[in-house]
Amino acid sequence: MNAQTQITEVTSPGETREMSYAEAIRDAMTIALDRDPTVILMGEDIGTYGGAFQVTLDLIDKYGPERIMDTPISELGGAGVAVGAALTGLKPIFEFQFSDFAALAMEQIVNQAAKLRYMLGGEAAVPVVFRMPAGSGTGAAAQHSQSFEAWFGHVPGLKVVQPSTPEDAKGLLLAALADPDPVIVFEHKLLYKMKGQVPTGYYTTPIGKAAIRRTGDAVTIVASAIMVHRALEAATKLAAEGIEVEVIDLRSVRPIDRDTIIASVKKTGKLLCVYEGVRTLGVGAEISALIAESEAFDYLDAPIQRLGGAEAPIPYNPDLERAAVPQVADIETVARRLAKGEV
């Protein structure tokens, strides 16, 4: 089955237009800025420079520096200003240049944004969106290539999404903005130039809902972000051998779509988790555990397999960098062994 036909959740029927992932994010922000005067964008070099990855591009020309606010290089303070603004009536979209830099702002994200509603007994809301360019593959080495989904996914009060397509990049960002609580959007840097059909106008992609990108009965692969595309490529190769792999695009790390994953594993009896973050204590560990605890456990015909990032910082050398995160061949090999009962 063609993967494209499986992309669901288009809530705006009507026209689509081809856009890159970065353009789709910009389209979402443009729509948000037009729809709601309380929406502001904040971040380092998002104005005239257009953002480190040119995602905000020329938005400053249309909306001006009051709504497209360049911040000083002050991740902790900048994130905190966004939290305080959200607490008092604005809807800030705060861009980190690289998700790695969010480590400087953990205090405001984890201790403040995530907990204010709870600590104040439901009397406060922090509707802030943090955009975080993430992932490896750009040759930027250890401090510009990490995948922190599991870190933030471990914090009650946060929602964490990882779009893998232009359509979802737009829909999930608009959903994040409509959400009354803080949402972290991990954008994969290698996907910014990827093109796809994107509905025009306003729509949201539901947070907490996975998407089945390809159906199959031999093995379930749960992947996110760039790994969805690598899993689909592996699945195409395996299909030539008669092995039909089901590929689930996780889309949301917190909350996680248990039902879709459990239903798929009950059908295939085999599970492979593929994620870019460090393998140990990562997103795949949570998915494995939720299957082990669910009724799908009885349907398993093989041990659950995980492919994740190496137990090392992301290295600079391109061959080492590739070796540090799952590649198509790795996915193909493990999925084939699972399908053939070799695990």
């Binding site: 309380t38 905190g80 939290v83 603004a85 607490l87 405001q108 403040q112 709870y118 600590m119 009060g157």
Partner: protein
């Protein structure tokens, strides 16, 4: 020098009713905290708490000119700020007792006491946590074209956090209506500000961020009120932030675990002779704002409010244990 010059700013500037209310709030803070301390000893309050006894003038004088539209961010030593901003002590006691009727429905306790409806965005368990948040609140006011201001309370300990420097810089470059109010009580837990801070006065830091910085006697109600009057007028006029440093002293230890090994009994007793409440009360009587009997009535009123507040808290229901995850996210309408 005219007679007028000898009259303290606060007496000249505020109505007798406002001054009477300020005295009531100062007594209320002192009595509330003594009541909380007693309830803690009796086991009615668990966890810990950070008392501001001795710092009442700073809290009340700072908030004199604020309306409910103005915001404050507070600290782990925030009971006084909360009362100064207009909170009800019954709901505060209820919060400390962990009750559903508390300001945070029993989820926050002393360290997260807040009253968003009167503009108190909350105490904070993280030193320096409220500084950038206050700048964000001021940004909202400016973007939405409102003239409200934000008061950012913090202690001397917070002035060495990175968040302090980032927050002051951003408030200055964007000319935001925020006033940074440092309550310098000489110690960050046990560490003397004089040891931990490279400048003699924390207000000196203001120069690095091109904003006015002033150090005042934080136990002198009128001096604090005057400094804030100037800073608030500047903020409302769109001229940007200020830093005000109130020199004060906490009579009690940092928290319930403090053995007071880092300061002397003499030092504590010396500061207790500079009681900001007794001083303000004497000033009001000396200038004929009220007489001794009226001052006693104000104190009695505060005493009654504290007694009623404890009764309210005791009689209030606890949250249901099934509600442990309630308030993590907004409840979505079905």
């Amino acid at each position: 020098m005219t007679v007028q010059d000898n009259i303290p700013f606060a007496i000249r500037h505020f109505s007798p009713a406002a001054l009477r209310e300020a005295l009531r709030k100062m007594h209320l803070i002192r009595l509330f905290e003594e009541g909380a301390e007693e309830s803690y000893m009796r086991g009615l309050i668990h966890g810990t708490m950070h008392l501001s006894i001795g710092q009442e003038a700073s809290a009340v004088a700072t908030c004199m000119e604020l309306t409910d539209a103005d915001k404050i961010t507070s600290t782990h030593r925030g009971h006084g700020h909360c009362i100064a901003k207009g909170a009800d002590v019954g709901r505060m006691f209820a919060e400390f007792f962990g009750k559903e009727t508390g300001y945070c429905h029993g989820r926050g306790g002393s360290m997260h006491i807040a009253d968003v409806k009167t503009g108190n965005l909350g105490a904070n368990g993280i030193v320096g946590g409220g500084l950038p948040i206050a700048v964000g609140a001021a940004l909202t006011a400016k973007r939405l074209g409102r003239d409200d201001v934000t008061i950012c309370f913090f202690g001397d300990g917070a002035n060495n956090e990175g968040a302090f420097h980032e927050a002051l810089n951003m408030a200055a470059i964007w000319k935001l209506p925020v006033i940074f109010v440092c309550e310098n009580n000489k110690y960050g837990m046990s560490t003397p500000a004089a040891y931990a801070t490279a400048v003699p006065n924390i207000a000196d830091r203001a120069a690095a961020y091109s904003m006015p910085g002033v150090t005042v006697d934080g136990n002198d109600f009128s001096a604090v009120a005057e400094a804030l009057h100037i800073a608030i007028a500047r903020a409302r006029a769109g001229d940007g932030p200020s830093l005000v440093e109130n020199l004060t002293y906490r009579w009690r230890g940092h928290s319930k675990s403090d053995r007071n090994r880092y300061r002397t009994k003499d030092e504590i007793e010396d500061w207790m002779t500079r009681d900001p409440i007794a001083r303000f009360r004497a000033e009001l009587i000396a200038h004929g704002v009220l007489d001794t009997a009226e001052a006693e009535a104000v104190e009695a009123e505060a005493k009654q409010a504290v007694a009623d507040g404890v009764d309210f808290a005791k009689a209030s229901p606890a949250p249901g244990i099934g509600d442990v995850t309630k308030f993590v996210h907004a409840e979505v309408a079905a």
